[in-house]
């Protein structure tokens, strides 16, 4: 189990009902972590969401390490 700090933006924040949380997870990659949360919060499919680990956007197969800060970012269009 690794402790990961997760932050949600826009619609993900609405669906999760919180801005962020600390999660104990066995997910080895950012994509696996998203899949875990997708079930919990009925998140949208990840195709249109971006993930950043430690303030850098990365691919969904990027590995997670304990203590990482993960941010999930969907696009927003309002003006």
């Amino acid at each position: 189990m690794a402790k990961i700090r997760v932050q949600y933006f826009a619609i993900l924040r609405e669906r999760a009902g919180r801005a962020g949380e600390e999660i104990d997870t066995v997910a080895a990659t950012a994509g696996a972590l998203y899949a875990e949360l997708e079930g919990r919060y009925s998140f949208p499919a990840l195709r249109s969401v971006k993930v950043a680990i430690n303030d850098e956007f990365c691919p969904w197969d990027a590995p997670l390490s304990p203590g990482d800060s993960v941010v999930f970012i969907p696009p927003v269009a309002g003006g």
Binding site: A10, A52, I73, V76, A77, G78, G79
Partner: protein, 382 residues
Amino acid sequence: MSTLSRDEILRYSRHLVMPEITLAGQERLKAARVLCVGAGGLGSPLLLYLAAAGVGTIGVVEYDKVDLSNIQRQILYATSDVGRPKIEVAGSRLGALNPGIRIVPHAGKLTAANAAGIIRDYDIVADASDNFPTRYLVNDVCVLTGTPDVYASVFRFEGQLSVFDARRGPCYRCLFPEPPPPGLVPACADGGVLGVLPGILGTLQALEVIKLILGIGEPLVGRLLLVEALATSFRDIRFGKSAGCAVCGATPTVTAPVDYEAFCGIDTATGRSAAHDLPRVSVTQFLVRQRAGEAGELVDLRDTPELAIAAIPGARSLPLADLPARLHELDSARHYTLCCHRGERSVEAFYLLWKAGFRRLDILDGGIDAWAEQGDGRVARY
């Protein structure tokens, strides 16, 4: 000898004395041509600061009229402007602020047909629009014409800002290759936004535009700034050019302005050609059907705070954001009429439900706003 007049020297004196700007920098601002796409929440402070700073040519693309519900955030407009075309009001307001600059109105919408012709006349584009089709269009045309796109967008208590300059960094599509499917992002008119938030983001947009013109500082190229108003948190996330980017990558597939609906494919699961072909009923039709017992159940997709503002008696409340998790509360064999504020969330819900096997669906055209407009005095407009 400077090209600035005595009045201009006085007007811009707080710029001129700084070694990062000087007379030469102010002359660059005067010679610069900036296009602002959208004169709403972001465009208001953006345009005001660009005009105040002395940007010599400012183009404005806007088609809308001032509505009372705009004034909470669109500080270009006064209450007495309600009903007037924004582009006219913006022109006179900016002209009064700074008579020494040129304001070029582009009344109408930016489209695949006119975008390149308009953008070609500008050095920098600021995307202050409020919808995905325009944002992708602005990005694509900026990449194709080699124009920097200073981008900002807002949602509720959050904002995003970046400078997309494909000549030296990534573009919008490098970040978000394709528009999100319906249901992921509430349409702008329906979304809600803290009024001051576009004020902050639009002001940051003006900052980035001015930095680009002056060639000073570190532009927000290859970084996405995330602004979160409730925590008052700013963080920027680095990103690079995507080799496979459809418009700025090694083998681009987008080589001319694209019609959004043709490529975003929101209709693939439904077999319908476009959102305007969806089954819509007018308020009048709905009432006739309801009296005949043929309207099905009315499902109100708006959020809880909106129910307190206005509601149609007898409607079942099921906020769009909860719909995926609460699908089991509806029966795919039954007939439903979908209703929201103005009809945009109903379209998103339609696709969600269609994918889940629902077929007896109608959309209340214009939503509760149309209901209120057609004379039900108990229902407030908002």
